[in-house]
Symmetry: C2
Subunit: 87 residues, 2 copies
């Protein structure tokens, strides 16, 4: 596997590891996204400390309005944050 | 760095390595995208063999119509392909 392929596989693996915890196994609930950020993206932890910020983050990402993030919506999130964290 | 952070850093690094080759250092031209796919995503090489397929792929991804892919457009591509290659 190339570095790019293994990186994509890692992102999919991390997404599914948190998505599988509760409810729909292929989507992240707000609590699962919060856990993922706290444990896997520590640089962003400060951004999800209060409920209001978490709510608005989820709302902005949840483009199909089902209160959960599918993989595509999650990738929009990590793309946005990649540009912040790794300019 | 967590696995997710290092994976995102790798994706950014690969994107920039190819984007820097010619023209705009922060965008992928069609030829740079083709090189990236051939060398970093060998599972997809078959999909970019002929010019027509490469043209339509680029057109579908190039949402701002500047004939190049910025990082966000590139991430849409890898998201789509992640779902194909790693269901």
């Amino acid at each position: 596997m190339t570095d790019l392929e293994s990186s994509l596989a890692t992102i999919m693996e991390v997404f599914h590891r948190y998505a599988e915890k509760e409810g729909d196994k292929h989507k992240l609930k707000k609590s699962e996204l919060k856990d993922l950020i706290n444990e896997e993206l520590p640089a962003l932890t400060g951004q999800v400390k209060d409920q209001a910020t978490m709510d608005s983050l989820m709302e902005s990402l949840d483009t199909d309005g089902d209160s959960e993030l599918d993989f595509q919506e999650f990738m929009t999130f990590v793309t946005m944050k990649s540009c912040d964290v790794y300019p």
